[in-house]
Amino acid sequence: MIVRLAWRSLWRYRRRTSITVSAIAVGTALAVFFVTMADGMYKKLIDEAVRMGAGYVTVEHPDYSRDLSIGLVVTGISSVIDEARRIPGVTGIKVLIQGQAVISTAGGSAGVGIFGIDPETERTVSPLADRIVDGRYLEGADERGVIVGASLAERLKLRPGKKLVLTTNDANGELVNEMLRVTGIFRMGMEEADGFLVQVPLDTARRIFGIGPDAATRVGLVLASPRDQSRVLEDLRRRLAGTEAAVLPWQAVMPDLAGFMAVDKGFNYVFQMIIMVIIGFTILNTILMSVLERTREFATLMAIGTSPLRLRLQVAVESLFLGATGTVLGLLLGGALSWYFQVHGIDFSGIYSDDTTIVGYAIDPLIKNHVTAGAFLLVGAFVLALTLVIGLYPSWRAARISLPDVLRSR
């Protein structure tokens, strides 16, 4: 009977019901949209950073994270690679030699970070290989080739074909000089890369730093989906147990990016909450109005023996209906919207300038939403709980109507 009364009341006050349901649906849809958009942004940002760097799962010397010394390498990398290849979900394996150096030209000199990479692998996994603005990307045969960032090139007046001298300490602490020739110039849109990073072929890096063929600074695993990260991490740890190698998630390798994500997600949730609170007031208002307009009905129900508790339940069930209908519609709407933008992307290039960066990582102005069941569950559960909480006050009010005053009036 409670259900029947609630259901019929919602149909009787169709206008208000549709206003409330729409408010809930729009709020839910917006929340789903923003959550999936943020998820898409994070996913893309992380994916690019990870692909450029050392993968979702990284193998390195246990002490390397404490002391970024060229001498701290993982050895036996061919067996690491063999093991990693057997793990499902691993789509690329990067072997990296990372070090610091000074490069000098006639135009001046600058401190740089060197990445020794395998050009073929890099071309398939790293976004950097696609961002060559002058010259061409490295090839395996480029024994003395080097790729430099656009702003570094500008400072040192480098162009493809120009020579530079690279000075560094090798793994034994010996000072070494190497003459290299620029093959290409890249622009990632962030100063940390464009002004600091240089890439050389892996074998060139081995020769410069004096690192043997079965050793590297890092082995990085690129995955088909970030969702596989913890599984792959566990699997690889099990496989490499007993060897002297640390297997780390990207969050440990790039703690500043991970920290930013956590903070930004927090802000994002606060923002969601604010939208929800605003929509919550609309819902509160319409439900409360519906209670206040129906005082005669509620007073009558109580006069003929409906208990206050039952009456409250009555109003709460109405709120539940409104909330459930609105939430489902909102999830469908928000899901459709998010899905559309997951496929087509939203171009934010009008809002963000080209070189907007987040702790040094460029963000692409084309953002694609990322729809997950988790986003739906999170938003759905939150909105439903919110409508129920909001429904409490009107339901409490309904049972506090002054019976004689209401029943007396006409």
């Binding site: 009364l5 006069a303 003929i304 409906t306 208990s307 206050p308 508790l309």
Partner: protein
């Protein structure tokens, strides 16, 4: 202790200070089970207030109200709703049907709250709606019924659970005299057959003529209380 209703020095004050209204000024009253009593008096004399207080829709400012010996002024809101559900039926001047329920469902509601079985409810309500002359209109909503028909539903609702006490506040005020007469016949019949206690408030001479006891209220005080209908003087 066989008073169905007993009021002891009941005072009801509305508002305070300059706007204070004394709606009841110390009313003492006892109704025995099975009475068929009419409260009359000019508008504003306190009739509605008196019925609301007896029916526990309102609390007196001072004094005691006993229903079957139990002091209702001491009961909690949920105990009062239980009391209204099981022992009191109301008929309001403004009908006060639930707009989203059909005639049948309105009358059935109290039985449903009491937890009666569906088949029992059906038999009872169909019979009752036939008695009040609404056969064939069971599935109409209140807005599809005339005033007289709505009040018939309200009466059916009030007596469906066979309460010991039926309180009717100007039940015929919005009805034509023919309809009023047939509803009064119905209530008189229930009073005789089931022994239910009826207390009416009214301006309607037709109702007053039926009274077996007449109470006259004036400015919140009982000005007269006599057996028989009012028209005798």
């Amino acid at each position: 202790m066989n008073d169905m209703v007993k009021l002891e020095k009941v005072v009801k004050v509305y508002g305070h200070g300059a706007t204070e209204v004394q709606a009841l000024r110390g009313v003492d009253l006892a109704l025995e089970a099975g009475e068929f009593t009419v409260v009359m008096g000019p508008s504003g004399s306190g009739k509605t207030t008196l019925l609301n207080i007896i029916g526990s829709l309102d609390r007196p400012t001072r004094g005691r109200v006993l229903i079957d010996g139990e002091d209702t002024t001491r009961l909690s809101a949920s105990s009062l709703s239980r009391l209204r559900l099981t022992r009191i039926g109301f008929v309001f001047q403004a009908y006060n049907l639930i707009p989203v329920l059909t005639a049948y469902e309105n009358a059935e509601y109290v039985l449903m709250l009491q937890g009666r079985r569906p088949d029992e409810r059906r038999e009872k309500i169909m019979g009752l709606l036939r008695t009040v002359g609404l056969e064939g209109m069971e599935n109409r909503f209140p807005r599809e019924l005339s005033g007289g028909q709505q009040q018939r539903v309200a009466i059916a609702r009030a007596i469906a659970s066979e309460p010991e006490l039926v309180l009717a506040d100007e039940p015929t005020a919005n009805l034509d005299s023919g309809t009023a007469a047939s509803l009064l016949d119905l209530m008189a019949q229930l009073n005789e057959e089931k022994g239910a206690t009826f207390l009416f408030s009214t301006h309607d001479p037709q109702v007053m003529r039926r009274a077996r006891r007449t109470i006259v209220l004036h400015d919140g005080e009982i000005a007269a209380d006599r057996h028989g209908p009012a028209g005798d003087e």
